[in-house]
Amino acid sequence: MGTFSQEAMDQAENLRREWEREEKEVYEKKLKFTLPEYHNESGILLKPVYDSEDIADVSPEMPGQYPYTRGIRALVHQYMPWMIQQIHGYGSGEDTRERSDVLTKEGMKGYGEQRVVLVDVDPSTSVGIAPDDPRVKGFCGLAGVMIHTEEDIDDLFHGLDLSKTRFAPIPRYTDLPILAIYVAYAEKQGYKPSQLNGQNMNMMDLFCTQIGGPIPETRLKLAVELIKYCTLNMPRWNHTNISGYPIGESGATPAQEIAITFSAAIDLIEGGIKTGLDPDDFVPRFSSQIHMGMSFFEEIAKLRAWRRMWAKLMKERFGCKNPRSLQYRMHVQTSGISLTAQQPLNNIARITIEALAAILGGVQSLHTASYDEAIALPSEEAAITAIRISQVLQHETGIPYVSDPLGGSYYVEWLTNKVEEEATKVLQDIENHGGFTECDKTGYIRQMLERESLKRCQQISNEERVIVGVNSYTQKEETKFAPFAIDTEKKRQTAMERIQQWRGNRDNEKVKEALDNVRDVMIKYDSLEKAGNLMPALIDAARVKCTVDEMTEAVLSVSGGRIIPM
């Protein structure tokens, strides 16, 4: 963009001077108004106005062109609008299937009209503890669906064409056993692993949710196993979700979210390379889940900077040549932390603003939150309203008609550069401290996030930061709001009976053999170079009806167990 004639530059300079004069004369002198120093969430000092001078160093670029600042496709939303992919799930497989059906009917759909089963799992599934274990008493079916056996998978999927269905469960660290059961289930229905479509998380973000789990080295091994197995056997499967969402929810600024997410991705890619794979073979199957907060322009700039930094990193650091390795496909989730329990309908405005930022930032896929999330599990009504927000933006605003509509904006282009600069600094800092896995172990990243989170909390407490309905514009009369809740004890009772029946109706000799084999394979998996054998062992175990919990225990019992950092 830096190609302005001398005449135009002189004219711009004159107008700038004039603006500065007016600002001084009118506001400072006459109105005695001192312009405050505005910093955005990433700590970048903002100017009160931007002009051509601020984008003098921005190189010309079109959407769909390297480094993809303006979008990974020439047509960002015209050919294919963003997918409406809503994370859902609670209670039993049946409960969640019912919600899934409702959301699908109301407009939830994935790439190429695929059925979407993008589900949060409950705590017992997340950590692989069976419903009849007293440790999960009081938690069964909360905040996600229970998946322990192939029967639970069948409750979610019966009657669906699995080759046109996208299964994306969101557990903390039971990804491999759940995938193994899904593969075994699909096999019985006549599908090969290569026909299946869906995604896994990557287990690298466990430091965000302090519910414990395998030690960082084991997590890396499990994530790399997914990369290796899926790259060789499941070409349609997104084996790794490069997830910034929990990092954002834990307090990261937009720049920190990029940096921390990238640092985890770097460890995963290096791990994948160690298994003998070429990054161009597996990086294209990275998917994402990005956090979207309320700092509107900064979040737009974040997405633009994110794509540019990713493209450069893949090309320059990892020597990727496949364009799909360089094109970061974005799924964005509007934030939970910005939602308030007070005056909950206000959240619809917040979700809309965040969704708008995501769309202007050029996302491929969007989850809009439910306005009652700060109070309880999303009700059906709130979950449908969330879909409607996306649909209103898609059909009523004309926003999808133009690719990267903010491209060339003095402010947005400048801010994109600044967010990139700041994120690069944080990434460098993490690398200087030994990289992601090391910083996960030492708690360095965790502390970074806690500082931010504490700062935000203090700003809200002392009203430095206005949150409408919380510390300002409060109403005495509380909104009457009947929260959506489930009877977890009832859910647990049913789940207990089912899993006990499941264990009774199988060949337990074969189960023992299969689990012994899983342990053996895990013991031999002593370096990343040896990845690729654990998933087949787990699929064998799933074929003889092993449960998520048994497989998890087998893997963890020989690799350091579970730890809960506080």
């Binding site: 008493k137 009081g138 938690f139 909360l142 903390r172 834990s250 329990a341 806690e450 203090q458 506080m566």
Partner: protein, 136 residues
Amino acid sequence: MVIQNKGKIRVLFARSALDGHDRGIKSVISRCRDGGIEIVYIYFYDPKEVMVAAAQENVDVIGITSSIGQHLYVISELEKDMEEEKVDIPVIIGGVIPATDVPKLMDRGVKKVFGPGSTPEEVVSFIPQIVQKEEL
């Protein structure tokens, strides 16, 4: 008469191991420490562990955090255990707790519910009100 609590007020904060939401409780802990309150912070699977830890640590108050809907279960179990074992320590709870559940929690003996929108300052100023300090 005996001074029951020499020096600082001690509070046990407890989080269910399976509920990873800890932004709120971390802020509360930080502010309590600034306010001169001594903190013991644990995670637990069985609510009974909370009672045992509270008794061992000789704390003045128990604070539970709950963000994914386990509040009624945890409080019911904890208050039941404390009644059986005759442990008398005031309990407060905070987190994502629907307003409609507040009366149910108070019925079960909770001293105060710090639902969404509560500030750490409110917790810090409330705690001394329920700590019984016997005078000389």
